[in-house]
Symmetry: C2
Subunit: 281 residues, 2 copies
Amino acid sequence: MKYNNSPIGIFDSGLGGLTVFKEVRKILPYEDLIYFGDTARVPYGNKSKETILRYSMEISKFLISKGVKIVVAACNTSSSLALDGLRKEESVPIFGVIEPGAKKAVEVSSGGNIAVIGTSATIKSRAYSRVIYEEINVLKGNGGYKFKNDFKVIEKACPLLVPFVEEGFLNEEITKKIINYYLNPVICEKPSCLVLGCTHYPILKDLILEEVGQDMQIIDSGIETAKAVKCFLEKNGMLKDGATKGSELFFVSDDLEKFKELGERFLGRKIENVSIVNQFL
Amino acid sequence: MKYNNSPIGIFDSGLGGLTVFKEVRKILPYEDLIYFGDTARVPYGNKSKETILRYSMEISKFLISKGVKIVVAACNTSSSLALDGLRKEESVPIFGVIEPGAKKAVEVSSGGNIAVIGTSATIKSRAYSRVIYEEINVLKGNGGYKFKNDFKVIEKACPLLVPFVEEGFLNEEITKKIINYYLNPVICEKPSCLVLGCTHYPILKDLILEEVGQDMQIIDSGIETAKAVKCFLEKNGMLKDGATKGSELFFVSDDLEKFKELGERFLGRKIENVSIVNQFL
């Protein structure tokens, strides 16, 4: 059996990608992981495509210089706007979080409306709709799921949720209000499932469930992405050999202490081995 | 009489500095103004001192390359953390927004407690307290105002207000809630005046007054800074000659359209002559 002991690179605009990191660690305990959080330039969600592509490329090159075997853009905004650019430019396989989440949504929706929430940039890109409709067409071609004629993808930008999470407003009355403000019009469209189209949102999952009802199917693209990564590494003989438990390295572009403190809430455990990198930014 | 027809440079992390720009324009109608909004890296308020200094220097150098006679850091975060560094490095006079606001607060407070609200970085820097206590000492030396023995400066970080303003949430119920959340503990300390220690906050002035009471004295550091700039130019023979009305140029590091759209709400009129600059960022 073939192995590849190089690390996996994972990046995000800030803390959000840690929700993906956590899921990758859960199902790939032997892999070495390198995380980059662009805390000097967070948030990405209100920035233009050109800027997001430029930032994503700088970070991918940094991760590749550290010897990673694949790069996971653990950021929906980057995945929506920079993935094609990254795949064209970079020498290792690049994974995004949109495709796995969108496919899972089609799978569980049973033909009902699909709701997607994300940053302004992600929603404006319509990346989720595109993948969802492509996937539905494939299924139709295979005689699979039947979608209603009036089927629709309800896409809703929730630009303030990232700042709320990054500021650690995780369980305040005011956080419930803003979730209600954003999600109330979404619920009115009676979606069959809700895709958390931003890696920050799983941190708010309990509050979101309170708002949309406990029986709503929630798609966490972090979980789906971790599965896709595992599947790819297995198929291509690229898993680590499993002789030792996976190591972890974290890099941020700013404010190491805040990253450690808030990051703990994301990972559910202490974060060690964090360094600041800013020479290339 | 001496004149200097070079433009005035004004910068901020994003849109907020436009409130200062507006006040400068109001009292200096003949000056040519160049504005830079760092919309690719907004907000600054949750970033480290080193990063804020680096960003502020890049922008000052850009403005100086455009021939400005002075630079106004129309951003409280920059003024708190980068002013000394900028003054050491740059070849033109540098103005901040802290000192004018702090001095005005001491002037109007009649010895009562002074409240200051701002971003996390501004509040953490304690820049307002420092200037306020210095000013009080000067006054004491001159036998001026008497301050109570239990006089204090109440400093409160309101990190989510900048994202609210930048997202255009200017008159929503939820904006009132977040203002109440932040300001309620401040009011309990019975301040004699409230300094808006962030150039974004004047946009929320009406909602803030609703919360703190219409008779609260509000210090808008934009207005005070504009006065200080005018006074300096007059004293040093650096005013423009007044032959023609002042021109205006705007530069942003990202998303020109959003800047134009939201900027209009800040200036109360259309913004023309906006260009994107990103080569040096």
